[in-house]
């Protein structure tokens, strides 16, 4: 056996039959035919305000049913609201006799599903409240008014009615306060996905940035979730790179040779070997050091020559060191040692051919520590120590890999930040430039 769910009343203003869908709860009905406001709190229906105008066509006609979050709801009331005529938004009152009331709210940028709270939020700190252990940040404060009413409501609603409002947000949810001297209500508005709102036959609005309007205050960043997994993947990749360096970055046993060079003389060519390269392909690390040199540079040409094939792998090295004194005091620059790396050298037995020459810097002006004119005497020879080892690790490869890994994260971070800036700019509590934005509108 089932009881009727609809109570039909006759509008005393126009005589039309108005269906009351929440009998026993509803207090006010706005007639769908003549827009007159009726008091239905008592069995004798009274006219509060008489009108004779056609009802507005609604995106969700009253009486429409839809299933949201596993519960079927019927739209029974509609409010057109605004902040003193600005920032208009719409609210639909939803009803299910077994689940009570809910709200469907939109300002054209998205739809939210509102549930009135039975517990007051906890105060966390200035501008921060918490509900069910989740925190909400202050976003907006104002006065809301009712501009247009249609359908039935569980309170005495009238166009022009004003309440104070405050909105607190976290991604995906808005906590809204409405209050006056006799009532204080808190509502949790969950942002609905475009798919969910189709349940009420509504075409979802285009989301930011396609909408051309700022994001909703409680719109989660579309990049937020990706950003987290990107960071995770980036860290895993970083660990993998480090692991590879540890595994393959080791050098073999070095061999050391020494050459003696006289500055200003012709280049000396010397061959050292044999040098065994065991792996099919490898880097070769050659380091040169000229201890104690000053105001000298040493050009070094290396050629690693395969004894069997005569294939030559070549590189250039330079050690130099200069010093002096000028009006700022003593200075020095350059490095007395230099590491040179050869890439992809095949396995084999090699000779290292070194062509090296040392040159003295002739200096400039009186700041030089050497008198340059007429210098031709016998210079002391310079010793050049050369160490060669198979293997070695290119730090530059690592930096390149790291940049390539980080660039997408940086791009996403930038997108996320520009979304968050666009979102926060709408807030009363935004930092710095929010006031300018308001003046522009």
């Amino acid at each position: 056996m089932s009881d009727p769910a609809i109570n039909a009343i006759t509008c005393p203003a126009c005589g039309g039959t108005v269906e009351m869908r929440a009998a026993g709860y509803s207090v006010t009905i706005v007639c769908q035919y003549c827009s007159s406001v009726l008091d239905v709190a008592n069995p004798d229906v009274r006219i509060i305000e008489r009108y004779q105008e056609a009802a507005r066509a609604l995106a969700i006609p009253l009486g429409t049913r839809g299933t949201l979050r596993d519960v079927e709801w019927e739209a029974i009331g509609y409010l057109g609201r605004s902040e003193g005529g600005y920032y208009p938004w719409e609210e639909y009152l939803l009803f299910n006799p077994y689940h009570g009331y809910r709200w469907l709210t939109t300002d054209g940028r998205g739809w939210s599903f509102g549930t009135m709270l039975t517990a007051t939020p906890d105060y966390v700190s200035h501008g921060v409240l918490s509900v069910n252990g989740e925190t909400y940040d202050a976003f907006f404060r104002g006065d809301a008014q009712v501009d247009y009413v249609l359908g039935e409501f569980y309170w005495r609603v009238a166009a022009g009615e004003q309440v104070q409002t405050a909105d607190y947000v976290r991604p995906g949810t808005m906590l809204s306060f409405e209050g006056n001297e006799s009532e204080r209500n808190w509502t949790l508005n969950e942002l609905l996905s475009p798919k969910e709102i189709r349940a009420f036959g509504v075409d979802p609005p285009r989301p930011w940035p396609g909408s051309g309007r700022p994001p909703l205050p409680h719109q989660p960043s579309p990049y937020g979730a990706n950003l987290k997994s990107f960071l995770k993947l980036g860290l895993i990749t970083f660990a993998a790179l480090i692991f590879i360096i540890i595994l393959f970055g080791r050098k073999g046993e070095p061999q050391a040779f020494t050459m003696a060079l006289t500055p200003g003389r012709e280049a000396i060519s010397q061959s050292f070997g044999p040098i065994m390269l065991p792996r099919p392909r490898q880097a070769v690390t050659i380091s040169a050091e000229a201890p104690g040199i000053d105001n000298l540079w040493v050009d070094i040409d290396y050629a690693l020559v395969d004894r069997k094939t005569q294939a030559s792998y070549e590189a250039y090295g330079l050690v130099e060191h200069y010093s002096g004194r000028d009006s700022d005091g003593a200075w020095s620059e350059g490095s007395r040692d230099k590491t040179t790396k050869l890439a992809v050298v095949p396995a084999g037995t090699y000779d290292l051919v070194v062509d090296a020459s040392a040159s003295r810097w002739s200096g400039s002006g009186s700041s030089s520590s050497y008198a340059t004119d007429g210098w031709s005497g016998s210079e002391p020879s310079v010793s050049l120590d050369i160490r060669i080892a198979p293997g070695g690790f290119f730090l530059s490869n690592f930096w390149l890999a790291l940049i390539v890994v980080i660039v997408p994260i940086g791009f996403l971070l930038w997108r996320h930040a520009s979304f968050e800036t666009a979102r926060r700019n709408e807030s009363d509590f935004a930092a710095s430039d929010s006031d300018d934005d308001e003046d522009d509108e």
């Binding site: 089932s2 109570n7 009998a23 026993g24 519960v71 517990a119």
Partner: protein, 223 residues
């Protein structure tokens, strides 16, 4: 359980709780009141207006592990609306009220007005006033006054702890907290009473035998 015949129409009237003195006859709406040597008629009660409440007399449920039956109802009205208070009889003989307003439910047990009372409560008990936002500590829980109404009894049905004649005026003050705990204070000019409990959803009460309504599916939690 006590079964008597209605002094007015002769129909069978069953008192399920020995603690409740009044039962409204299901047939002629006469308030049948228990007296020392039987029962007497205490006037005819008003007809309940139509509503779409999902609860009805006979609905069963569970709260904090205890089974209950809905055995009575009082409907209250105020200048801007109306609400139901359903009387629950628990298996252990206790009774409680399930307040139903604006589609939300409060389950409340009566708490004797004795011992040290919160300032607002003792002021109200003396016939004084309260304002929205007034704080009150009851049983270690911080409450705030959320709602103050002058209510009038519209109608009643079933078993009740008192006769609830239509037109009976009561001042009703609701308290809320940040945990979902709630309290309600009522004063009819001569007697004051305090009820404490918490907000519940219908699903939490594991209800059975809910009222079926045309065009609506009874939720799975009640099937």
């Amino acid at each position: 359980m006590l079964s008597v015949n209605c002094p007015n129409c002769g129909a069978e009237v069953v008192f399920r709780s020995p603690a409740l003195p009044v039962k409204v006859c299901d047939y002629c709406r006469t308030a049948v009141t228990r007296i020392d040597d039987g029962v007497r008629a205490a006037g005819e009660m008003a007809v309940l207006p139509f509503d779409v409440s999902p609860i009805r007399i006979g609905t069963r449920g569970r709260f904090d592990g205890q089974g209950f039956d809905v055995i009575g109802r009082v409907r209250w009205g105020w200048s801007d609306g109306a609400w139901n208070e359903w009387l629950l009889l628990f298996a252990d003989g206790r009774d409680a009220w399930l307040g139903e307003a604006m589609g939300q439910f409060m389950l409340l047990f009566e708490k004797p007005l004795e011992g040290s009372l919160a300032r607002v409560v003792s002021r109200l008990a003396k016939g004084g006033d309260a304002t929205i936002g007034d704080k009150a500590m009851i049983d270690g829980i911080d409450y705030q006054v959320a709602d103050i109404k002058d209510a009038v009894c519209i109608a009643c049905e079933g078993e009740l702890p008192f006769t609830a004649p239509a037109g009976w005026k009561v001042k009703s003050v609701d308290f809320r907290s940040n945990t979902g705990a709630c309290a309600s204070f009522q004063h009819d000019g001569t007697e004051a009473s305090l009820y404490t409990g918490r907000y519940v959803t219908l699903a939490e009460l594991h209800p059975q035998d809910l009222r079926a309504l045309d065009g609506w599916t009874i939720p799975s939690f009640a099937a």
